[in-house]
């Protein structure tokens, strides 16, 4: 409840202004500030929180306005109800527009959204709705959203603003909010952590369309009095929305309010003071103000002010003891698989990219309770294999079966929720979220309530031995980053985790910590498939090995056998070394060489072709 205090404060200020402003025109300015702040907040839900910049949000604004007004004009339906119809129409439009358009990324999405209001505008003109005056109702005007007293419009807009602030606040703290922030920061990582990004985007889009439609209807009644396609579908609407959000700060519920509170009165004051005498000057000054704001605060005033607060120093936080609450890997409805039985089966998987056969007829299985290593020289297809396994790629041929059901073709987030987690070669963080929030994203795979997700996340962090819950990933060491990613993975309660080079970039003690952790995780009941290059660690850590070379599986078995397999040695070191080893008759790949190889290189038993 306390967190709602700022919103309450804003509403109070709004009410105070409503009752203290004297001039009618000032009330209009106040109404406009509230209208554009609300529209900005609506836009912020999809473009700020979810990071899907939209240039077409005026489509919903216009739908709200037109549906409401046309219902008044044609059927005499009161706009109080008509507005609800407008809202529904806008949400339906959001679904229809979002379905094909969310497949596009970044600027393409933004430009595609632009097309819709442009089309609506032309169609409205074609249908003969160039000018739809709102009929003035003289008896019981309030029933038709018509008020003689401008303060009523202020309060109406304030109510819309308050509602949208509450909506934003709710989103920020909810599962959806985490999902949006995650997908905005790194869509792939979010999918791998169990976030159904398409669904999250759609829900966000629908939630953003609703307030836009409502405020569009209010705008028509309070400000325009006559609805034209240009006034509600036109580019000036999205320009105003962008201005208030980008000047104020995107991604925060306060940004649009700040932006609107500054830019709208500035614009109106310019009109009122110099604009009438020197027409055009107001445009020049306003334009200059925009330029200056962007030079001074390109991220928006809200973020700029927040950045001015002294930064916290990165402090090495004490490692939490590993003897902490046990990680709960049970999930309702999921039966445990018998140890040793095939958990994941890969059958004949092939994948080609533009003529290059990245994977060719790869088959193997992962048994429940084991640590399976996947090794192979550079370019062998290991990461591609992982991308197929967790759903980023659809194989050209073959099947992937998990718990005896096919999973190839499912979204990564669906695969994650079924129980397969994944970490990445280069850690993919959600940079703007705290460590705890990063891990919570994974926890939401099976939790809907934020407090429970937080618990799960804390347990996961305790399991991996990571403190630093409130730091941002940017200040973490490589080891801590990997721990964080693993915690995020574990928080989604997987049965099987795919670790892509978790030891890369770690020093000796980091490698040991990580390896010990992997064993612990397996002992807790989570099967592990691990891609690695650090030979000596892999050989000691895994139960079995699968070796890939040029996309083909060339060996599978226990480490002892695999490292002596001639095909494997040849793949890593070439024919010459193979002959050398055969000549030596010694331990093969996994052992330290008795005599240095002819090339004169010294070092660990790791392959001289140890990839970067």
């Amino acid at each position: 409840m306390r967190r709602l205090l700022p919103i309450g404060l804003v509403v109070l200020v709004g009410v105070a202004l409503t009752f203290t402003l004297a001039e009618r025109y000032h009330h209009r300015v106040l109404t406009l500030v509230l209208v554009w702040a609300t529209m900005g907040l609506a836009w912020n839900i999809i473009s700020g929180y979810a990071g899907q910049t939209s240039f077409g949000h005026q489509a919903f604004f216009g739908i709200g306005a037109y549906v409401t007004v046309l219902l008044v004009v044609t059927t005499g339906l009161t706009p109080w109800i008509g507005m609800a119809a407008g809202l529904v129409a806008a949400v339906v439009a959001a679904v229809l527009i979002g379905l094909p358009t969310f497949r596009l990324a970044g600027i393409y999405f933004a430009l595609a959204t632009l097309a819709y209001p442009l089309i609506f505008r032309i169609v409205m003109e074609f249908l003969g709705y160039q000018e739809v005056p709102i009929p003035m109702i003289r008896d019981r005007p309030a029933a038709f959203m018509q008020f003689r007293d401008p303060r009523a419009y202020d309060l109406l807009a304030l109510a819309a603003l308050g509602g949208t602030l509450l909506l934003s606040h709710w989103i920020e703290g909810s599962r959806l909010g985490y999902a949006l922030r995650a997908l905005k920061a790194n869509e792939q990582a979010a999918e791998a952590a169990g976030v159904d990004t398409f669904r999250a985007k759609m829900v966000a889009y629908m939630l953003s369309a609703a307030p836009a439609a409502v405020i569009g209807a209010i705008y028509a009644h309070a400000i325009l009095f006559v609805v034209t396609p240009d006034a509600v579908f036109g580019v000036l609407v999205i320009v105003q929305t962008l201005v208030v959000c980008l000047v104020g700060g995107v991604g925060s519920k306060w940004g649009p309010l700040i932006g609107s509170a500054i830019m709208v009165p500035m614009s109106e004051t310019l009109d009122a003071t110099v604009g009438d005498q020197l027409p055009g000057i107001q445009g020049v000054v306003y334009g200059a103000a925009l330029v200056l704001v962007m030079l001074f605060a390109p991220e928006g005033i809200y973020w700029r002010l927040r950045a001015l607060r002294p930064a916290r120093r990165a402090v090495e936080a004490p490692r939490v003891s590993a003897a902490a609450p046990r990680l709960d890997t049970t999930v309702a409805g999921r039966t445990p698989v018998e140890r040793g039985a095939a958990l994941l089966e890969v059958r004949g998987v092939s994948q080609a990219f533009l003529g290059l056969q990245a994977l060719g007829d790869v088959s193997f299985s992962v048994r429940a309770g084991e640590i399976l290593g996947v090794i192979g020289p550079n370019g062998a297809g290991k990461t591609t294999l992982f991308n197929v396994l967790n759903g980023f790629l659809l194989p050209d041929a073959g099947q992937v079966r998990y718990r005896d059901t096919p999973i190839h073709g499912l979204r990564p987030s669906a695969i994650c929720r079924r129980g397969i987690g994944r970490t990445f070669q280069v850690v993919r963080t959600f940079p703007q979220l705290t460590v705890l929030d990063n891990v919570m994203v994974g926890a939401f795979a099976h939790e809907t309530s934020p407090p429970r997700a937080r618990e799960r996340a804390r347990a996961a962090m305790a399991t991996v031995g990571l403190g630093r819950a409130d730091d941002v990933p940017g200040v973490l060491t490589t080891l801590d980053l990997r721990l964080m990613e693993l915690a995020r993975c574990l928080a989604s309660a997987p049965d099987l985790i795919l670790l892509d080079e978790p030891l890369a970039g770690l020093a000796r003690d980091g490698v040991e910590t990580m390896a010990a952790l992997v064993r612990r995780v397996r002992d807790a009941g989570v099967s592990v498939v691990i891609i690695e290059h650090t030979m000596y660690a892999v050989v000691q850590l895994v139960d079995r090995l699968v070796v890939l070379d040029h996309g083909r599986r060339i060996a599978e078995g226990v480490p002892n056998d695999v490292v002596r397999d001639p095909a494997v040695i040849e793949a890593y070191l070439g024919k010459r070394w193979l002959r050398h080893v055969e000549g030596l008759g010694t331990g093969g790949l996994g052992a330290a060489p008795q005599t240095p190889p002819r090339s004169g290189r010294r070092g660990e038993a790791a392959s001289p072709r140890d990839p970067c």
């Binding site: 990071g51 632009l114 442009l118 995107v250 925009l290 704001v293 991308n387 980023f392």
Partner: protein
């Protein structure tokens, strides 16, 4: 509908598209090299129109030549605007935030230019009276408006010059390197900032020249940009963001679609045809006609 009628529609569309094409190349260059969405592109075009107009009225210079003469001064204008303003919101940092900042900054610039011009030059529409605006070449039954034909040819020539510059000269290659991979380009000793300035300068010069060509048959007023800015963006996207030949093709395609839409839809819905084409291209082939294939996930 006879073949010659259809041919007329096609020819008309291509001629209109030629000037769209030239307008769009400037935008494509700026976006391709700097990843800047220049909201003010159309307003620089408008200024180019005015310069061409004054050259015609004061010095009697034919607008086709006048369009060429706008290139040097507007190149300098572009470089200056980049140095003074854009350099602070490009080149490094969160791309999303930067794009947002550029949008608003160039929007502000657009407001300044449009309103400043209204104040200084008055909103009275001007026009250059040329004989060839109302004359046409007859190629069989098909009529090619002379003004638009000359504009088309000049657009083609200028686009060709830009293309040769980008692909054959060292400076052009440096520019493309800076676009493809600024970091790597930097390591090669290419001054990426200077390349950005160059790209912006050329982009502005091109759109000013396009304005000059437009002025051979289109009236000139401070708010003329608003009719073309959306089409410019659509053309660039159709061609493939960052592809110069693509933007040219995109412009031609838009002209063609506008014209051919008249055969299937009521005239009022002419631009709906363009926007639907735009959506279809984005949905089916987001990289555009000539753009790089977007990397798979």
């Amino acid at each position: 509908m006879s073949v010659s009628d259809l041919a007329q529609y096609v020819v008309t569309g291509l001629l209109v598209g030629g000037v769209y094409a030239l307008m769009s190349i400037g935008l494509a260059l700026i976006f391709g090299v700097m990843r800047v969405v220049n909201f003010a592109q159309g307003d620089f075009m408008m200024l180019g129109m005015y310069l061409t107009y004054f050259l015609a009225v004061v010095s009697g210079v034919d607008p086709l030549l006048g369009a060429l003469l706008t290139i040097p001064p507007f190149f300098l204008v572009g470089v200056s605007v980049h140095r003074a303003l854009l350099v602070r919101v490009t080149g490094g940092g969160d791309p999303q935030r930067l794009m947002d900042a550029q949008l608003i900054l160039t929007l502000g610039l657009s407001l300044i230019i449009t309103n400043g011009t209204t104040m200084l030059l008055t909103p009275m529409p001007r026009g250059i009276k040329t004989a060839y605006a109302t004359q046409a070449f007859a190629v069989g039954p098909v009529l090619l408006n002379e003004a638009r034909s000359y504009a088309f040819l000049m657009a083609l020539v200028l686009a060709g010059v830009v293309y040769v510059f980008l692909t054959r000269t060292d400076l052009g290659k440096a520019l493309r390197a800076a676009a493809d991979d600024p970091e790597a380009a930097g390591y090669q000793g290419i001054d990426v900032r200077a390349m950005h300035g160059l790209a912006f300068g050329v982009g502005i010069a091109l759109v000013a020249a396009a304005g000059g060509l437009l002025a051979t048959y289109h009236p000139i007023e401070p708010t003329v940009a608003v009719n073309f800015i959306v089409l410019m963006f659509v053309a660039v996207v159709l061609g493939g963001l960052g592809s110069i030949p693509g933007a040219f093709a995109g412009g031609l395609l838009i002209g063609l679609v506008q014209s051919l839409t008249l055969l299937v839809l009521p005239f009022q819905l002419q631009n709906v045809g363009v926007f639907i084409t735009f959506l279809l291209v984005l949905y089916l082939r987001p990289q555009g006609l000539f753009g790089q294939r977007l990397r798979a996930v």
